[in-house]
């Protein structure tokens, strides 16, 4: 029991990161993690290691998130991109930060299914197989969700080039 508590504890930073990326709201994300931990503690005596603790915790978090969305039907508030675009873009770090802001705003526009799948793989570094198992979907479905998410992100970010006003787009590809 203490060992499983250790394993749960080790996953909390990753759960917070994932919840933050899903909701883009600090307190909503921590609510989600807290609910997830409550539910996990309640179930830990029943849990048998058919999957990793990490995969188990993420699937609990996702189930709570889906239940919440159904109850509240509340869309995430879009990030005010306009105010950010006004900041001067100086140097590479700034440009990376703007790209991050841009992609995070675009992620918020993705359907929840695609967002969940893409973030498990890219942000949490789940293998494709582990991500599919955590989401309870076949591998082919996972790959097509990731593919659609990537294309939608690409279209969304390419439509808004003014996010780096002082940096010509071609500079980005120079390495």
């Amino acid at each position: 029991m203490t060992r499983i508590l250790d394993e749960i504890e080790a996953c909390i930073p990753a759960l917070r990161r994932y919840a933050r990326a899903l909701t883009r709201d600090v307190s909503l994300a921590d609510d989600l993690v807290q609910d997830c931990l409550e539910r996990a503690l309640r179930k830990q005596t029943l849990w048998r290691p058919t999957a990793s603790v990490r995969s188990w915790l993420f699937s609990i978090l996702l189930n709570i998130r889906r239940d919440d969305l159904r109850r509240e039907r509340r869309a995430p508030a879009p990030l005010p991109v306009d105010t950010l675009a006004a900041e001067p873009a100086t140097g590479e770090a700034q440009s990376a930060r703007l790209a991050a802001i841009e992609v995070s705003a675009a992620i918020a526009m993705l359907p929840p299914d695609q967002r969940e799948a893409l973030l498990l793989v890219v942000l949490e570094d789940f293998s494709y197989g582990e991500a599919a198992a955590t989401l309870g979907i076949p591998l082919g479905t996972l790959m097509s969700r990731i593919g659609r998410a990537r294309e939608q992100l690409r279209e969304a970010t390419e439509r808004t080039p003014p996010a780096r006003p002082t940096q010509p787009a071609r500079l980005r590809t120079v390495k």
Partner: protein, 256 residues
């Protein structure tokens, strides 16, 4: 030549961008990308997406944890019987009253017809409201199963068993009493190891009596309805229809 035998698919491009291809396949994809600048541009954009996503959210994991996410403290509080639950009881009461008032007002305005359609709608609403509740998902918990069964039987005026769905991986959390179409309804809630929840919503059978299984789906929730000469029951969950049907069949047999 190799590329002709194993054409490069979208999945290969994605796995390449994610750095998850073996060395052989990676070489094949690289030679494909040299000849297909459009795909090369897409893969390049995906890699930038990956970097941007990690830049945007990666640092969250390094932030200090707030006290409320201290899992050891939470575990200790659970063992001690938890003072926190008491603090959250007020919120749950408000929710309960809202649920009841919403149901009552809705009934006055919409006056739903008797029968399966309104029952399924009420079962779906009740599921949405309570399945997301973490601290008080039920009124009476499963550790008091005998009391739960006799209490709900008495209130519904029928002998009501509590189906055992553990063969499907679902364990009883507990149940509650709800209003439905001017009469009492029982809701049982079950949960599996992954935290997925299903609910059974039960009212005494009306005049229409027996029916075959009927399905409805709404916002990714599947509902399955049937009635026999004693009860009408709707089972609700975010499960594939076949899985829900297996569970419903098991419950149906136990209701007798």
């Amino acid at each position: 030549m190799t590329a002709e035998r194993h054409p490069i698919r979208e999945e290969d491009l994605i796995a390449y961008a994610d750095g998850r291809l073996g060395a052989d396949r990676r070489g094949e994809v690289e030679s494909w990308l040299r000849d297909h600048p459009n795909d090369a541009a897409r893969v390049d954009a995906w890699r930038h997406q990956n970097e941007a996503i990690r830049t945007a959210f990666g640092p969250v994991a390094a932030e200090p944890l707030p006290a409320r996410l201290d899992v050891r403290r939470m575990a200790a509080a659970r063992r001690a019987g938890s003072g926190r639950r008491y603090a959250m009881a007020a919120a749950a009461v408000v929710l309960l009253v809202l649920g009841a008032a919403g149901g009552w007002m809705g009934r006055g305005v919409f006056a739903p017809p008797a029968g399966s359609v309104s029952l399924i709608a009420e079962a779906l609403d009740a599921h949405r409201l309570y399945a997301s509740e973490v601290v008080h998902p039920v009124e009476v918990k499963s550790d008091d199963e005998a009391h739960l069964s006799s209490w709900l039987s008495k209130r519904l005026g029928i002998v009501l068993v509590i189906p055992d769905l553990s063969a499907d991986g679902f364990r009883l959390i507990g149940g509650r009493l709800l209003p439905a179409g001017g009469q009492a309804a029982a809701q049982y809630m079950y949960e599996n190891d992954e935290g997925q929840r299903i609910t059974l919503f039960i009212v005494p059978a009306g005049k229409e009596s027996r029916s075959a299984f009927r399905y409805a789906s709404s916002d990714k929730l599947e509902a399955l309805f049937w009635s026999n000469d004693k009860i009408a029951c709707a089972i609700v969950g975010d499960l594939p229809r076949d899985a829900l049907k297996d569970i419903a069949t098991r419950a149906y047999k136990q209701f007798g």
